[in-house]
Point group: D3
């Protein structure tokens, strides 16, 4: 049986939810106060999970210090204290909903983590709203 190991990190960012191809009226109707053109922001809590075998020599699936360093280098350095819409290239055309942020983080980290590990992302936008990708 495989085991899952998880590391929790966080970043603070501004964002605005809107669809660039819609009218202001439609954006307001769908996204409400999340469509404030001056942006709002969140303390995002990010949990990265790797699933694999325990290495019998170390007792680790993956060194959590190394995982933390990978998240800092490839995610936090680009997302923390940023405006997701303006400063993060992935969201130039993509609406920075929690769903899309989680999917983007998964795609970035998937290139950094050996394919022998299954990879999952859990992202809290607030204490009450969170997403998991992939779902299973």
């Amino acid at each position: 049986m495989k085991i899952a190991v998880s590391r929790k990190e966080h970043f603070n960012a501004a964002h605005r939810l809107f669809n660039t191809s819609w009218s202001n009226e439609k954006n307001d109707a769908v996204f409400g106060k999340c469509n404030n053109p001056n942006y709002h922001g969140h303390n995002y809590e990010l949990i990265v999970t790797l699933i694999g075998e325990i290495d019998p020599e170390t007792g680790y699936v993956f060194d959590m210090k190394l995982l933390s360093d990978l998240i800092k280098e490839h995610i936090l350095s680009h997302f923390d204290h940023k405006n997701l819409n303006l400063d993060v290239i992935y969201f130039k055309e993509l609406n920075p909903t929690a769903e899309n942020i989680a999917m983007v983080i998964w795609r970035i980290l998937r290139q950094q983590i050996d394919e022998k590990f299954e990879l999952k992302i859990k992202l809290y936008e607030t204490e009450r709203n969170f997403v998991e990708y992939p779902a299973h």
Copy 2:
């Protein structure tokens, strides 16, 4: 791959655990102090999860504001600040254990959520006791 989106809500309720077809002695033996005939109560934390595809136009799987409104209308308005045994019709015959409360909430919300979304319920009765339905 599908993505899971979750919304956390809460309600405060009184309840008593007992089987109406058992003697007082048997109820005391099985349910202990949870069988206080004058009731006790909990702050229930409820997490509702929907699993589906990201809508490419909105970046949402499901609008969390709408999900919150559905939970308020169909669950919280009937459960919050209530006596589950006396005030909630589903528990007239059914023992309001955390397991049964989660199953009842799932059945109510299942009728309100489009079948294209998988639905899961997580319910904390206390910080130390919680249930998830369905389990997988």
Copy 3:
């Protein structure tokens, strides 16, 4: 300088807020859904704080195991899994608001704790509502 030591415990109870000398209409107007005649309930989080000098022989202000035992014997055994209005003698005439519960707990424990220690009670009724007695 003195030091404060604190122990956190919890109890689960049912209650109803109302003034026995008021009409139903006035009780509803003031207490709203907290006046459900069938009761509702909470997971109460209780923090008991003692302020005093560090004993140079033990390094303790007060043994937290002994404080936990005192709370269990004098508070939890009477409050946990109870209906505060019906089962707890202090609330036969006194409305079991968080304020009054905290004051009652303070009075009970004050008789069990040596006068050389200052005593404070913090009581969470929910994660969002809590009281502290005395305030200073």
Copy 4:
């Protein structure tokens, strides 16, 4: 002895820390990544505390529902899902540090709360950084 009652609310906002009378270089040196001209953001947790006497008729110091409504009307409606620098008039000239935000919230609420109650504000900018005004 007086008792303290507290209500926790939250708001999500964008902000940028800088002194308009300083050069970019000095602002970068002092505020670092908090000076991102495109803003970043936070989930602010706000705890409002009132200190007073228990009303013997209600058992309340202050109705927590009324306090929540006051906070929503006078604070959250102006701060939630806003850019503190651009959308909130109090920060046109004042740097929106946690310290200044707490002081502004105190001044706004002080005008809404009867002088017989002492008023305190606790504001979490992140789980690791928070302020309390006044300190004593």
Copy 5:
């Protein structure tokens, strides 16, 4: 559909991470400050999950009081306030990483829990590092 029920317990223990067949240099390179020969320690949070059917007579999958007692008897009495390397027989040869601790706990409890229940272990070593066994 099956339902999952979970119980959270905790224990406080000292440990040291190292491979007895490696040199000090290699142990330092791999385990860093976790290889302090004088040990360090953690507050471990342990969540034990059972998956099964709801018993129609009790409304329980498993009595949480009984599960808590089983965990206390078979895990906490051997792990709490112990040095995992020196005091716990399972780690005489096995490196007490979070992964290995979770696997050992699973093996111990698997012998105490009826095979009709699926068993899962979640173990937090810190708020930021945790493991789940089995992963699916």
Copy 6:
């Protein structure tokens, strides 16, 4: 009025509670399982609070980044992943209770923080046991 600013950090350490001038029997009677000669351990949560005036130029009482750096340099580098009894010079003769650890941390940081700021330490040994120094 002054304002309080707080920074939360953490360290993981092993310790053993005992009085070197007492017999084993007396140490066992007073400290129980905390007197395990092989040590046990904790995730300590440390909150450092400074009370002072808001600097009108920065809007800060004290830069939280600088406070975090001071805590890392003067406390965490000596306490984290250590055995408090064996590795930390302050506890060669002093029993490392939460009370004494908080007092030692206060004394160390008091030498690093300008006297114009009042200094307070809050230390969680577990989620249920914590101390504050000074108490007022």
